[in-house]
Symmetry: C2
């Protein structure tokens, strides 16, 4: 991927605060909105979800997920030119106290200070979505298949 595209991908992932999370429900896909933070090297993405939420029930049954991070619609004439990346991944609940848990919690709270009370509730947990691959649309008719290596390379921009 050329330099300009890598820089665009990196900015897209670092600037966005919310993503669309796709999970598998009984009959088909389900898409919900989540607040997220990326791991520094873009190998994983972290979300804080309630055990009672439908997407969490879905992820417990089937770990396959998809995360869409899209540029905010800025009212440009053609929204098809908005940059976006779909990341295919597998989701797993983090255990409080597991290696790496506290730095992720701190990073999440730095980004979303209003979420602090949720960490006090027993039904909220951090989940890790490991990136397996995906597709980056840098604008209309300009798309790239991406791998974990692409993401890692972009994270250094």
């Amino acid at each position: 991927m050329e330099d300009a595209a890598e820089i665009l991908l990196s900015r897209l992932i670092r600037n966005a605060r919310v993503a669309a999370l796709g999970t598998i429900r009984a009959e088909g896909p389900n898409v919900s909105m989540v607040a997220f933070i990326p791991k520094e090297d873009f190998s994983a993405f972290f979300i804080l979800v309630s055990r009672l939420a439908q997407h969490t029930v879905d992820m417990r049954k089937d770990k396959h997920v998809s995360l869409l991070i899209a540029e905010t619609d800025d009212a440009r004439s053609d929204p098809q030119t908005l940059a976006r990346v779909s990341i295919r991944g597998s989701a797993e609940a983090m255990i409080v106290g597991e290696p790496g848990y506290n730095p992720i919690k701190k990073m999440y709270l730095d980004r979303f200070p209003a979420s602090a009370p949720l960490f006090e509730l027993t039904d909220f947990s951090l989940w890790r979505i490991r990136a397996r691959g995906g597709r980056f649309v840098a604008g209309f008719a300009k798309a790239y298949n991406i791998t974990p290596e692409t993401l890692q390379s972009a994270s250094q921009r």
Copy 2:
């Protein structure tokens, strides 16, 4: 659903230009960004997609889809309070010239004039997503299961 929530749902659906489309791929869900227009009564949503795009390949194999319409992130302190609606639906390609095709095409072009050249390409088609139900999150910890009737009622606001 109370009046204020219905009005919020109606504005959310009418103001948004892009949505996250969830489809089923071989191994799991896939989420991509689409520009959309709602039918006047919110019973269906229309998208213009390329036959070559991955989400179109998915929809040809499995018509079950999910459409997330989320309020634009306005940099508020807690993004979990953004309103959003997940709509479960079934997707079908429209046939050029079928009853209702021309009014939908006109409505799509009124909303997305930059898409006009795509209608000249043989690999782009309008698809209809019929709404089966869904979930509306009017802000954090304020959520409603919705039906086609809820959507129809909101469309009159």
